[in-house]
Assembly symmetry: D2
């Protein structure tokens, strides 16, 4: 699909340099205090390739709250655990609504539109909480395994903040439970969900952890099959239509890569058969996507002509 640039590091350095000061166009998430205190000036981009390169620029070692990027990993675990029966409880359609809207969930009788909006990720959290004896530990282990780093941790400060400000997610989960689509107790589901959102990782770790999605389900570093080839295509399809909140269409239109963002300011994008990009900059646009993070990824994608379309 693409030729690897001769000097990847230089390309990334130039991209970072081009974004100086642009973080001011966004606003750091402030719905929880723990996120609001992050420095808005930090930024980073990492690229991991199937042939083993790992290159970055900016604050690539700084850990940040992965937030909704965790939805991708939760989905992989749930697909592995439930198989296709998962799709009786959550659809795979774009939502056409702000990511946390409760209206659509009511219309569609408690069946979330897809697993990467909040309702769908809470449904996935229920699957994990119901099918693992300790789903939080299982999730953390999965992340440490993929990143090959036992130091990956749950930010307890973020977790506590999420719990206190999690009323809308509680409303979504209770509504699904009223439709019979939640098996575990709601507080348990929320606790799992906020735990996975509260994991801290850096760009290098995230980029490497997702290489299997660019490689038909196989981690190229270990040849381990993380998910089936088919599920790898499917997850990329979902990320393409729905990964960037209510800006997913525009992102497909202008960048054309499967991607997922989080309100911690991180964005990951899959380049099938090539590798993974991870960018990070805390200030968000009105859709909840990192302003500079999107610039970095679209800049890289456009320079290399990476659109899958």
């Amino acid at each position: 699909m693409t030729s690897i640039p001769k000097n990847l590091a230089k390309t990334l350095d130039k991209l970072i340099a081009s974004q100086q000061g642009l973080y001011r166009e966004g606003k750091v998430a402030d719905y929880i205090p723990a996120l609001a205190t992050v420095s808005p000036e930090l930024m980073a981009i990492s690229v991991a390739t199937l042939d083993g390169k790992l290159v970055g620029a900016g604050d690539i070692q700084a850990p940040f709250s992965i937030q909704s990027i965790s939805k991708v990993f939760g989905l992989v675990m749930a697909m592995n655990r439930l198989g296709d029966s998962l799709w009786q409880r959550v659809r795979m359609e774009p939502s056409g609504q702000p990511f946390n809207s409760i209206i659509q969930l009511e219309w569609e009788k408690g069946i979330p539109r897809n697993p990467v909006i909040n309702a769908g990720a809470l449904l996935v959290a229920d699957v994990l909480a119901s099918h693992y004896s300790s789903s939080k530990l299982a999730f953390l282990s999965f992340m440490r395994h993929l990143a090959n780093d036992e130091n990956i941790y749950i930010d307890q400060n973020v977790y506590q903040s999420e719990l206190i400000h999690g009323n809308r997610n509680a409303a979504l989960t209770y509504l699904m439970k009223s439709f019979g689509n939640i098996e575990a107790e709601v507080p348990e589901v929320l606790s799992h969900y906020f735990t996975q959102c509260s994991i801290s990782m850096n760009c290098h770790q995230l980029a490497q952890s997702l290489l299997f999605l660019a490689n038909k389900g196989v981690d190229p570093r270990t040849n381990e099959q993380i998910c089936t080839r088919q599920d790898s295509h499917r997850i990329n399809a979902i990320l393409s239509t729905s990964g960037m909140y209510d800006q997913s269409g525009e992102f497909a239109f202008s960048v054309g890569l499967p991607a997922k963002s989080g309100v911690g300011g991180g964005i990951i994008a899959i380049i099938p058969n090539y590798g993974v990009i991870c960018s990070w900059s805390p200030p968000l646009n009105k859709f909840g996507n990192s302003v500079v993070g999107m610039n970095l990824i679209s800049g890289f994608a456009n320079e290399l002509g990476l659109s899958i379309y």
Copy 2:
């Protein structure tokens, strides 16, 4: 992306054979009498490739009403005419609503979610009606030019039927006009829209006409630049997130190709850098997509491993 099968014709013949009788799982569109009279047993599949192959099976010479597939061609014309200012009047996000829903249009103050739901296509029709002295003739000429066939025609029977049963499209257009997002007179917009929906073509013609979208905007038969390379990516992105009505996500998930269907039973799918598939079978599923048509395309795509994801 894919290796061309040695015997494409044989592959298509087998696919057609595998679908015998399955048309009974769908229902021919009956909202207008002119569509309801088509034989449900007809079916066809054509594949046109960038290197000049054109292979098909089934009723490949039978013309059918292209209906919503016309939205792709209208969009190309409007993008060429207006440039990026088009996107101030229509968004590029998936809709998450049935294709003809008026609710979303009200919420979003008369700005359609994307140009391939009905509201968006009516907006595009307004652009054409406002910017061409005779938009219907211009559209027909464009179709004849792309298909390289001066015999392509407007089915007047279908057109009259559409006009009589077009009350919901009239409601959508008047609602947009009430928000100031329609320039021409509403009857003129509707007349253009129903005209382009009423064009009859066969699978061979449609597959060949869209080769430019698989080839970065360039028609490989003539080397003519039909749209810009960027717009070619963009259109494929929109078709990927929104081309199959409220089954677009599932289609991306299971097939993974930019595609557009019409209630006449036709479906086109773009295989970037390879070619175009067009299938046809009148009976539709509950989402408005051809049952057998989807089977034919997904069968072909899966056999060749064509997913873009």
Copy 3:
């Protein structure tokens, strides 16, 4: 229910005096030029009683556009014409939505919530247009008969303005037609509707014309039965729950009388077994109700303790 104040005229004069300058809190309807040009300082209040009194204060002779107040008269005509079968095509429930919302109409499959929101009044207009050879003439005759004044007229300037700016009403009507709930041609329905909205009357005329609703269907001046006793109760019930747009509940809460307002600035309120109040002042609040008009009616109702609750 109430004792008639000894000096009704003095009470009304004081009320008018108390409202000097308060029109500045509202804004004259400007969606059509013909309404926007009315002087905001005009105001009037009239009270007609069952025992033949007719008292007023302010600009009681100035005609104004009755607009949505016409919905009451149209409803009477349609109830008389269709009988209870009318209620198969329109409900009698409060809408809980802004008066011209198209969303609810879509949800409820083209059945308007009640006959005094726009969709319902357009449905009533369809009944009249379908059942009278000349519904506009019939409507005008009915109004002249009730007001006992052959000079009541249709303001052609307002009518033309309504037609030009009637796109949302067109959208509502086409949507109902798409659900099979409109019999006449849409332009004919709209033409009738805009005609009845464009009638000009003054406060004295309106107050007297509605005396039958305070008197169990019988016009006390002529003993003519204008509608059945039951329908008189029913219309008052609908006006009580739905007559003041999305402020109907608050009006019931604070005033407690069946009432109907129009964007021309007029309001009528029925005092069962006593009489009718009509107030007028063009500037509207955000709900579309006359600011001063509401003050005048609530002032009068509270002074006399008129709440029906």
Copy 4:
């Protein structure tokens, strides 16, 4: 407003006799087991008048779960406690939506449409839970005081059932809390709400307890001012527009009395300046209102010509 029939008891007996077997047209609420076990054949009607009559027919001594009828009493307590500042947290408009819809609450940013839909009653429960040291005891005391009966009790079986099946009410409350419109902890609010819904009373007790609403706020038995005269009007206004779920308009249209129903099968109706009717029969229609209960009240109201309109 009405003349008291000479033989009230005989009228009620005849009404009860007329309803034999009609309970079969409804369905006993089965969303909680504790309600589903009530005999569908039970029915009763009581009438209490301002001048001290108390007449009934049928199973007038049988206690039933008052359910949503408790919303009226909770509202009185909250209005007394907060005064007009209550109306900054809940509106007084009809909802136009099924009684437990979450969609409207989302649209209106966590402000319920009125205090007698579920969301509004949960808001009122929050007011009580936040302003009383023991709101449940206070509520029970209020009910015993009004009914002048210390034996009125909370059905613990119903209460436990409500708690277990209260997920939708939990969703509504968490959603309001996410908008900042709930002060107490959500479980505390729910516990209060389910407690007040679980009170058991019979028709005689309910009819007598609400006499103050027919008498400008004053209990005619004791001359105690239970609420202000103005609030008495206001509550009757809210019950008139919104007391019978999504059948409120039809009830106003056909009966014309302020009323409130509960899914336990009870209905109370206020006859201003005359008295209170309470009917009971467990089987409900599709709107959640007792089929026979409505027949009994409309039969009584029509016979006596009681409509307030």
